[in-house]
Each structure stands twice: as structure tokens, then as C-alpha cells.
């Protein structure tokens, strides 16, 4: 029987009294890759942020269960330590904090056991090799002066090191060239078999490299259509208008 990782039920979310999500339902099991597509402003990034526990969002109705437990009251760092990971659409720039220091502190925080220097370095080197990253990145400040592609690779590097049980990827493919897209997809595919994955994207092209099990379409803060990979291809060809027309009808 499939192991449930995430269950979102009738989720209503507001920001400063403005409703963003209006009754979301979504279940992700271990090993499943779910893709959410939709126009700008549909609520996709809000969904990822709320699942990760961003304090700016208020859940007005419904619930989020992770590994069978209601996590509404869990803070963001507790969620991270429980195995949840969000690859940010716009990762924060942190001047003065070196990438190497940041990665070590993150991994130390998330893992229960003490971090052994040599083993961590070996693991780090392996993950960086997978993502074809230069070691010089470790002495740079976190996302400071990084190109869009470098930021997204650093997000995926963190994901590989933190080994999440639930990976939320918010437009990780945006701004990537063809080679970078392939490399980032490799990172996602290496984590996916042992985790539940939720990928937010605007484009079919990532799905040439990452095979989703389910594709969902969000309109006005709720899922209006779900299907398999063929739904993404249909959206690429026909856009969202046919779904909006159906929703209005």
C-alpha cells in the first residue's frame, strides 16, 4: 500500500484578509511526482509556501497533514527538520554567509546525528559533482551575485544534502538553459524515488527530463483538473482557456 507523505484537505488560505487558496485538496504518496501548473496568480507558490509554513499566510479553513500528522502548528524549522524541503522560486541573498558554512549548518540542523567532517565533505563533493558545480562556490556568499541558474543549482544541491521526504520545487526550472535544466532534473530524479515531490512549473520542457505521475491545473486557488503527463502536453498546445471556460460553465 502506498505510503502517504502529504495530505492537503479543503485548504483555504488568506494573506491580509485576501483569499488566495479556496479549497485545495491534494495527496502525495512516497515515490510520486506531482506537477502543478497554472497561470500567474493562480496560487501555486502560495500553496508551496503554506505547506512549508511561511508565517505570512493564514490558514482560515482546512488542514495539512504530513506523514499522518497535522502540521498547522509546526514552525518552518520544525517542518524542515521533519524532512520537508522547499526549493524557492526566489532564494534569499545572504551577504557575508559563505555557502560552505551555510550548507554545513543546514545539514547539522536537519540530521539528528553529529556531522562528521570527512564524511560530509565526501557527500558534498559527490552532490556537487552530480550537479556539475565548481568547488569555488563554497566560499562565495549565499546567492550573492549568483546568476539565476546558479541559484537554482544551489537549491538543488541543498535538496540532495538534506535528503527530504517531501520536496516542494517552486519554478526551479525558470531561467535555466538547456544544460542546466538537464542537470537540475538529474538532481530531482535522484531524490524522487524515496520522497514525495511537488513540482510547480509553467513549462512542459522540465517534464521531458522528469516523468510526473500526476499533473494538476490550478485556477483561482483550487485544482480544477488533474491527469497524467498528457495533460501537460495538452496545456502546452492549448493553454488554459479551455479549462477556464469549463470552470465558468
Amino acid at each position: 500500500m502506498a505510503e502517504e507523505i502529504l495530505r492537503v484537505e479543503n485548504l483555504h488560505v488568506s494573506v491580509e484578509d485576501t483569499p488566495i487558496l479556496n479549497g485545495m485538496d491534494l495527496t502525495i504518496n512516497r515515490g510520486e511526482i506531482h506537477v502543478i501548473m497554472g497561470r500567474n496568480g493562480a496560487g501555486k507558490s502560495t500553496l508551496a509556501s503554506v505547506i512549508m509554513g511561511h508565517p505570512a499566510y493564514e490558514i482560515t479553513e482546512g488542514s495539512i497533514h504530513y506523514m499522518g500528522t497535522n502540521i498547522d502548528e509546526m514552525s518552518v524549522f520544525e517542518r524542515a527538520r521533519a524532512g520537508m524541503f522547499l526549493s524557492f522560486q526566489y532564494p534569499a541573498v545572504i551577504p557575508g554567509v559563505q555557502v560552505g558554512t551555510f550548507l554545513k549548518k543546514s545539514v547539522q540542523s536537519v540530521r539528528d546525528e553529529p556531522l562528521k567532517g570527512r564524511e560530509f565533505r565526501k557527500e558534498l563533493n559527490g552532490a556537487m559533482a552530480t550537479l556539475e558545480m565548481q568547488k569555488s562556490v563554497l566560499s562565495r556568499y549565499v546567492n550573492d551575485g549568483f546568476s539565476g541558474g546558479e541559484k537554482k543549482r544551489l537549491e538543488i544541491l541543498q535538496m540532495l544534502l538534506l535528503k527530504p521526504t517531501l520536496a516542494l520545487l517552486d519554478e526551479t526550472d525558470s531561467g535555466l538553459d538547456i544544460d542546466a535544466l538537464r542537470i537540475v532534473a538529474k538532481g530531482i530524479n535522484s531524490v524522487a524515488p524515496e520522497a514525495g515531490c511537488l513540482i510547480i512549473t509553467h513549462y512542459q520542457r522540465l517534464l521531458d527530463h522528469v516523468q510526473p505521475h500526476f499533473v494538476h491545473v490550478m485556477i483561482d486557488g483550487t485544482i480544477v483538473e488533474s491527469g497524467g503527463p498528457e495533460l501537460a502536453l495538452k496545456l502546452e498546445e492549448q493553454g488554459y482557456e479551455w479549462l477556464e471556460t469549463a470552470a465558468e460553465a
Binding site: 518552518v76 524549522f77 545572504i94 551577504p95 557575508g96 549548518k105 540542523s109
Partner: protein, 346 residues
């Protein structure tokens, strides 16, 4: 001029607005107390020679006072390129005073670690950078947390010389620093980077003057102050570019990170530009912890306290980003990391 003949400076003056002379003086303002000498030791590289050129024509009350207090006086003169010199200065007793003169005619880096339990510490550093030399000087103030500290520096940068100054202010209860640099000939460059950590009721006042008296000279100043609890950081800058000192490029940036509601920070850059063809800029910003940065770190498993600590460390480390001298940067980073780790354990 003698100290006894000097009037207590008015608080209307830029230099004494936030830390009046009476608050930094070791006792009553009319007194010139007995002082013991700061002990200077060479930890690595170079040699110290006793004695230092006395300050003449000083009109600033702080410099005159330090001169009359006496204390120890030493000179370091560079002898070859690529020297790295580590000096240790220890202040003990009720009032401890020292004067260090640096004659840097080569590509050298001098690090000074100041520590000790003195109730009142006075330090005067004078230095001259020889033509074409590329020198670095770093001061780490690790004095005990309950003492007063008066600190003056006077630098002269000669033709085509460059000076990088780094300061890490983590010690002392009430600190007043007054750092002045003059360019004597064209081609000189100055890069100054100072990071301040305020905790408890610490009061740290930096006054930085850079005088572009000649054309084709460049300077930059970055001060980063992270203030917690009820601490108070003040940074006043005076940047002057003399008439006919064209083609100078000068800038001052003051950044403050406020970590509690009662922490305060003032940043007052001041420009006096009398030449036409120059680039001169200044900026100041004070802000609490950035919520997006905090959320990002917490989303990677750091609890709020650890995330804020890392942001503070990063903010202070970033204060040294403008320096090219890697020896200075590494030393400052190491001392800062050790200091913040000790603070966390308290």
C-alpha cells in the same frame, strides 16, 4: 597646546555630539591621571623599537590628552615585502596608555590584538605608508567588557601607496574611536572596513575622517554595526576633497543591523567637496533582521536563534568584503567567529 589650556569640546561639534568628552574621560575632565603603559609584544614577524615620534601641533583634545598621559611608545618599521606581523597589546591597571607608530614602506600586513582588564585604555596609532607600498593594518579590540576605550589613529598615505584598514570592535563598554587619514600625493588609495558588535549597554562611537588634499586619490569606507540589547553604535564620517583635488573617488557606506527594540544606531556621513571633477558618494541604512533571509535559513532547519546568529555573523563579515588583503580578511573573520560563538554560549 596643553590639555590644561583646552576647553571641554562642545556637544554642538560633530565629533563630540554622541560621546561627550566627560563621558570618555577616565575621571574628572580637569584631571590628567597617572597612567601605566600598554604592553606591546610581537607575536609573529618583525621587531619593535622603543619610542615613537611624539604628536606635535595636535589640536584635538583626545590626542593631546593621550600625549600628556604618556604610557608606552613603540615603533615598528617594515624591512621587507610580504611581511605579516602579529602584535599583541595588553592594557592593565586603572589607566593604561600606549602609542604605536608604524612606518610601512613595503607590502606588509600588521595585525594588532588589543586585550586586557584596564578600567580605561587609551591607544594612539600613527602610521605612514611609503611611496608605492601596499600596506594593511587590522585592529581587533577585545578589551574586557567593562572598560572605557579612547582610540585615535592618524595615517599618512604617500604617492601611489595603498592602505587597507580593518577594525573589529567587540570589546570595551564605552568606546570612542577617531581615525584620520591624509593623502600627501596623488595615486594613493585607502580602503577602510569596520565591523562593530553591540550587546548589553555597550556604546561604540566611530569618527572617521578622510582628507583628499591632492588629486587622483581614492578612498572607501564601510562600517557595519550589529546592535543588540540596549547597545548604541554611532558612526560619523567626514570626507573632504580639497579645491583642485580633482579626479578623486571617495565613498562612505554605513549599515546598521538592529537586533532589539532598544538598540540604537546613528550613521552620519558628511561630505565637504570643493573640487569639481570628483566622484563622492555616501549612504546609510539601518534595519532589523530581514524576514526573507530569516525564513530562508529557518526553512533549512535552523531555529530562530541560530538563524539570527548566522545572519549577524554574515552581516559583520560582509563589512570586510571591500578589502583585498586576504590576510586581514581571514584574521577578522576568525576573530569574529570565535567572538560570536562565545557570545552564543553565554
Amino acid at each position: 597646546m596643553k590639555y590644561a589650556d583646552m576647553a571641554v569640546p562642545s556637544r554642538a561639534l560633530h565629533l563630540w555630539r554622541y560621546t561627550p568628552w566627560a563621558r570618555i574621560h577616565p575621571s574628572k575632565v580637569e584631571d590628567v591621571p597617572d597612567a601605566s603603559g600598554i604592553r606591546f609584544n610581537i607575536v609573529e614577524g618583525g621587531e619593535l623599537v622603543e619610542g615613537a615620534p611624539r604628536i606635535v601641533n595636535a589640536e584635538d583634545i583626545g590626542r593631546v590628552f593621550l600625549s600628556e598621559l604618556g604610557g608606552s611608545a613603540w615603533t615598528y618599521e617594515s624591512t621587507s615585502n610580504a611581511d605579516v606581523v602579529h602584535l599583541q597589546a595588553v592594557a592593565s591597571g586603572h589607566v593604561a596608555v600606549g602609542h604605536l607608530h608604524l612606518s610601512l614602506k613595503h607590502d606588509v600586513t600588521v595585525m594588532l590584538h588589543l586585550s586586557g582588564e584596564s578600567d580605561w585604555t587609551g591607544l594612539h596609532i600613527t602610521g605612514e605608508i611609503g611611496a608605492n607600498a601596499r600596506a594593511g593594518f587590522g585592529l581587533v579590540n577585545e578589551l574586557a567588557s567593562n572598560g572605557k576605550f579612547l582610540h585615535c589613529e592618524d595615517w599618512v598615505v604617500n604617492r601611489d601607496a595603498s592602505l587597507e584598514l580593518a577594525g573589529l570592535s567587540i570589546g570595551g563598554f564605552r568606546c570612542k574611536s577617531d581615525v584620520r587619514t591624509h593623502f600627501t600625493a596623488s595615486g594613493g588609495a585607502l580602503t577602510q572596513a569596520i565591523s562593530v558588535h553591540g550587546s548589553g549597554q555597550r556604546h561604540v562611537d566611530h569618527h572617521i575622517e578622510v582628507h583628499h588634499d591632492v588629486p587622483h586619490t581614492d578612498s572607501s569606507l564601510n562600517i557595519h554595526a550589529a546592535c543588540d540589547d540596549q547597545s548604541h553604535s554611532i558612526a560619523t564620517g567626514l570626507l573632504t576633497i580639497a579645491e583642485h583635488a580633482n579626479h578623486c573617488d571617495a565613498g562612505q557606506v554605513f549599515k546598521n543591523l538592529l537586533l532589539s527594540e532598544k538598540a540604537r544606531a546613528e550613521a552620519i556621513p558628511e561630505l565637504e567637496v570643493l573640487a569639481d571633477e570628483v566622484a563622492a558618494a555616501h549612504g546609510a541604512a539601518s534595519a532589523p533582521v530581514n524576514p526573507d533571509q530569516l525564513h530562508y535559513l529557518m526553512s533549512r532547519g535552523l531555529d530562530e536563534e541560530s538563524a539570527v546568529a548566522l545572519l549577524v555573523e554574515g552581516f559583520m563579515q560582509d563589512g570586510f568584503s571591500s578589502l583585498d588583503n586576504q590576510t586581514l580578511v581571514d584574521e577578522m573573520r576568525t576573530r569574529l567567529t570565535v567572538h560570536l560563538e562565545c557570545e552564543l554560549k553565554r
